[in-house]
């Protein structure tokens, strides 16, 4: 097995050059290293000017997502050995503007996330003295899958629609809206539907399905969006066909 492996990083240094370029590094090959370890080796030993984001090193914080060999992955959760023989090409996540090297600007996602109200919406809060909102294991099961999202944005990088139509609200934000819609304690489904049942909401999705393939937490955002479409459609039919319309929940 080779002693070293070549890493090619897509660098963008706006103060030096207006276009990104590839830079090649040779790093030692260690079987137990993740892609992120190789980047840390470069930063510590070869080139301190390389910029990228990371924090937890264990697939929880969702900050180290990058394109490796054209696929969006968490670099802390993918072995260097799985990308041999190299050169291993590392690029910033697709679909988001690049600030520098491997660092994206994520404001767009943050704004879209806030807009879907990813918190428990109540028409009226019950007083503290009445205790907590109880939930059965089945009720927890109804939304648990969607609550596993770590906002790593790999799904946005995999979605060709988001890159072509940046107004699209996108997979993770819609999956997180569903996380609260399916929560038995929540009463905000109608407000979220008003926001999401628009052209740049659920209807922009053409069900390419790659968001669910790349999701490191098996959230299945594509499924969440299609379930939203089914719901919106049945609501529309009911409001058109039933004399009393669709009852609000």
């Amino acid at each position: 097995m080779a002693d070293t492996v070549a890493i090619e990083v897509r660098r963008y240094r706006p103060e030096e050059k207006s276009e990104p370029y590839w830079q090649r590094y040779e790093v030692p090959f260690r079987e137990e290293w993740m892609i992120l370890d190789a980047l840390n080796y470069i930063k510590d030993n070869l080139d301190g000017s390389l910029s990228y984001r990371w924090a937890c090193r264990m697939g929880v914080c969702g900050s180290c997502g990058m394109m490796v060999g054209g696929e969006p992955i968490l670099t802390c959760a993918s072995y260097l050995a799985d990308h041999l023989p190299g050169p291993i090409r590392i690029e910033p996540l697709r679909g988001f503007p690049v600030v520098r090297d491997l660092v994206n600007n994520l404001d767009d996602f943050m704004d879209k996330l806030t807009a879907v109200k990813p918190w428990i919406v109540r028409e009226e809060e019950k007083p503290l003295s009445e205790g907590e909102y109880l939930q059965t294991p089945e009720e927890l099961d109804a939304y648990k899958q969607y609550s596993m999202c770590i906002n790593c944005m790999l799904c946005y990088a995999a979605c060709p629609i988001y890159e072509l139509e940046p107004a699209f609200i996108g997979p993770a934000a819609i999956a997180l809206a569903q996380r609260y819609n399916f929560d038995s304690r929540d009463q905000g489904a109608d407000e979220r539907m008003d926001h999401l049942s628009r052209d740049e909401g659920i209807w922009a999705c053409t069900f390419v399905g790659e968001c669910s393939v790349v999701c490191p937490k098996d959230v299945d955002p594509a499924g969440a969006i299609q379930r939203y479409k089914v719901k919106a459609m049945t609501q529309w039919y009911k409001s058109m066909l039933l004399p009393w319309g669709e009852p609000k929940r």
Partner: protein, 136 residues
Amino acid sequence: MNPEYRLHHPKWYRRKVPIFWWLSKWSYMKFILRELTSLAVVYAAVLLLLQVVAVSRGEEAYANFLAFLERPGVLAANILIILGLLFHAVTWFNLAPQALVLRLLGRRIPDRVVLLAHYLGWLTVSALIFGGLARL
């Protein structure tokens, strides 16, 4: 130093999406093919309507229509169209379990069962149509 750069004014980079972005990955290509083959569905529906029109115009018109369908060029095109239709139907059915999350006795019905139900439905409808035609 890049002359376009001003200190403390971020200059973000956004790549231009290539026109043939969908050639970069089989899953993207499959998606584009799935969308394009919906035209085969339209074609098949129009063909059926034309056939009905031909029948309503009498025996001679229908014979002419059948003669048109038997031309080698038309035959070859229709074989391609059928392949497109099959691709569209199969890829579409394969997506169904993701959209249909159904629960029975507190448990989610497995994807395979939803998929099987779709194919069984397809088979049943086809059998009914062919059975009906055979009796005529």
